[in-house]
């Protein structure tokens, strides 16, 4: 992040280029304000998105009734089992689709269009037990999908609004990245520079390190994030090029493996063996690498079945699927390639979601994304650090400063508390309660609102410390709560080799430690940043800054 005094006073721009003097400074200003304006939205998107890299694992943790999956069950058998269930549950449905269990999922998520009155579009959805083909009986929860969806469409608002907000925020992020790189001219010289205990200078070093080390990721994730929703943000090309239903169908086929229902024939004909069709796909893509089975007009003579390839090991979300005739099981086509433009989208989409990752790569994604979160966080805090020294009266900062300061506390420390509270709610809300899944989410927002109120009412430094300690405590006690409320405490999952549960518990402790360190450092550090007698300290702070420059 830019610091005009440090950045621009030092080396005058080369003579003979009159336009140059302003560029770095103006970029610095742009970076500061673009970063601040939607900084809290970006921070929340970054943190919930980071956690969403483990959304499948988190969903398992949030449904402790589903047994630990020691190995991936035979996907062909599971597909048949759940297909049978869906035939019974959704008769006459024009389309249903099920996601098969894999190394990261121990249940089968399925949704179906209901055969409602014409013109109406109804949906049903459920999770199924791979072993029995019956609906799972676990607590009602949105699981890790809440963080995933919040990350790009927020909540309590129409999905489209949320996605537009996410898009504007991502655009701001892109501007912040480019202007940040221009502002930070000494990327290579200062690559390994960190000056400890120098106030603003240290914050800037930290912000730079977090930004530069993860720069390929930050740029990729922002750009690819925009690409995932590009059809919403810039629909005109598509509108101009795609006019007929046939063209639309072709477009859909390039973008997803959800085959669209055509017209039913009206003639009944039972589905051929789904198991055999999935076997066919397993031979092509590997035993555990079938992703999804979609069926249109099951039970009708015009039924079609698409068996799609899984996401593992393939840096592209472009659909690959085998299409079968429903009643006979005859292979109609194998779709394994799309056009160059669609493939570009498919690759960027895959890069954003990282679902192709093995577990090490997923951890790399998580860690670098966490660094991105910290990049936004340090940027937000730096805005106040930088301005606090210049306040006329530190005891009575102006309203803008107070606003940013308080939003920072609730947006950063408060979000940690709210996210932990969401997991607490998952363990504490009574099973069978009405709208239980919604109340987990309401709990998240109620707690987040409380942290904002707390941040507004307490002195800023105290509020930081109290909220960071609260987050640390909630996270540290989560494994204890899990041990008390489920039959899968940490020692049990460690003994069983259940790394979904053990990993979640241990990660909670790791994050609790992180928050505790931040709380301790805030408690210790503050006197330096907020001197009792400002005029005495200011020259020293300036001297430290200049010295840090040398």
């Amino acid at each position: 992040m830019g610091n005009p005094r440090v950045k621009t006073d030092r080396k005058p721009p080369p003579a003979g280029r009159p336009a140059a003097p302003g560029i770095r400074q103006s970029m610095s200003g742009l970076h500061t304000w673009v970063g601040l304006l939607l900084g809290w939205v970006l921070y929340a998107m970054f943190l919930t998105g980071t956690v969403a890299y483990f959304k499948d694992e988190l969903s398992q943790w949030m449904r402790p009734e589903l047994p630990h999956q020691t190995e991936v069950p035979d996907q062909a058998l599971v597909a048949q089992r759940v297909a049978d269930a869906l035939v019974a549950i959704a008769p006459g449905s024009p389309q249903w689709s099920l996601r098969l269990p894999d190394a990261r999922n121990n249940s089968v998520y399925a949704f179906w269009r209901t055969a409602a009155a014409p013109g109406q579009r109804g949906f049903g959805e459920a999770s199924f037990d791979p072993a029995t083909g019956r609906k799972v009986t676990s607590r009602e929860t949105m699981g890790g999908d809440f963080f995933y969806r919040f990350h790009f469409q927020f909540h309590y608002m129409p999905v489209i609004w949320g996605r537009w907000i996410a898009g504007v925020a991502a655009m701001f992020m892109l501007v912040a990245i480019v202007s940040g790189v221009i502002t930070h001219k000494k990327i290579f010289v200062d690559f390994f520079t960190f000056r400890w205990g120098k106030g603003q200078r240290s914050w800037l070093d930290a912000h730079n390190a977090l930004s530069v080390f993860g720069l390929p990721f930050h740029a990729m994730i922002t750009y690819s994030g925009l690409v995932t929703l590009m059809a919403l943000y810039m629909p005109w090309g598509e509108q101009a090029a795609i006019r007929t239903p046939a063209e639309r169908q072709q477009l859909t086929a390039e973008l997803s493996a959800f085959i669209q229902p055509g017209k039913p024939s009206g003639e009944t004909a039972p589905l051929a063996s789904i198991e055999d069709m999935v076997r066919h796909a397993q031979e092509r893509w590997g035993r555990d690498n079938v992703g999804r089975v979609t069926v249109t007009h099951a039970g009708d003579a015009a039924a079609r079945v698409a068996v799609a390839r899984g996401e593992a090991g393939r840096v592209s979300m472009s659909p690959q699927y085998m299409e079968f005739e429903g009643p006979t099981g005859r292979l109609l086509a194998v779709h394994e390639g799309v056009g160059a433009a669609a493939e570009t989208r498919g690759v960027l989409y895959a890069l954003h979601l990282g679902r192709f990752s093995d577990s090490v790569t997923r951890w790399l994604y998580f860690l670098v994304s966490l660094a991105g979160t910290a990049m936004v966080g340090t940027g937000l805090v730096m805005w106040t650090v930088k301005r606090r020294q210049k306040l006329a009266d530190p005891e009575r900062p102006h309203v803008g400063f107070r606003l940013v300061e308080r939003l920072n506390i609730a947006g950063i420390a408060g979000l940690s508390i709210a996210m932990a509270a969401f997991l607490w709610a998952n363990r504490l809300l009574p099973q069978g309660m009405a709208d239980r899944a919604s109340w987990e989410i309401h709990g998240f927002f109620i707690v987040w609102a409380l942290t904002l109120a707390h941040a507004a009412l307490r002195p800023a430094r105290t509020a930081w410390i109290e909220q960071l300690w609260t987050a640390a405590a909630l996270l540290a006690l989560l494994p204890v709560l899990n041990a008390a409320t489920t039959r899968r405490p940490l020692w049990h999952s460690l003994a069983e080799g259940d790394w979904v549960f053990a990993g979640t518990d241990l990660l909670c402790w790791g994050l609790a430690g992180l928050h505790a360190v931040l709380a301790i450092r805030t408690a210790r550090h503050q006197p330096r940043l907020r001197p009792a007698r400002k005029p005495d300290r200011d020259p020293m702070a300036g001297a430290a800054l200049r010295k840090g420059e040398a």
Binding site: W196, A209, T361
Partner: protein, 97 residues
């Protein structure tokens, strides 16, 4: 093949590159290294990073290889900087107090 060799290579690479900077030579060694040594460190560092990339690409192909390399490089740079910070803190504490 596993993720360990590329990560170690990236760590070695960034360590060499860190030693090739003026600031770290001053902080860690107390004197600047001769230009030839600095150049050798830079080449060695870059070579180690390229080797890490090559190993990952040979193992997983360009798509996954590049993604994994990016992750390992980011992590390794962070670890090296973290180690430098810890060392500088320890050094600052030792002589004064």
């Amino acid at each position: 093949m596993s993720h360990l060799p590329p990560l170690l290579l990236a760590l070695a690479g960034f360590t060499a590159l860190a030693f090739a900077t003026d600031r770290q030579q001053h902080d860690l060694l107390g004197r600047p290294l001769p230009p030839s040594a600095t150049r050798a460190l830079r080449i060695a560092g870059a070579a180690a990073l390229l080797l890490a990339l090559g190993a990952l690409v040979a193992w997983k192909g360009w798509g996954l290889g590049l993604v994994m390399f990016s992750g390992h490089a980011s992590l390794a740079a962070g670890v090296v900087l973290g180690a430098l910070i810890l060392r500088a803190r320890a050094a600052a504490r030792a002589p004064k107090r």
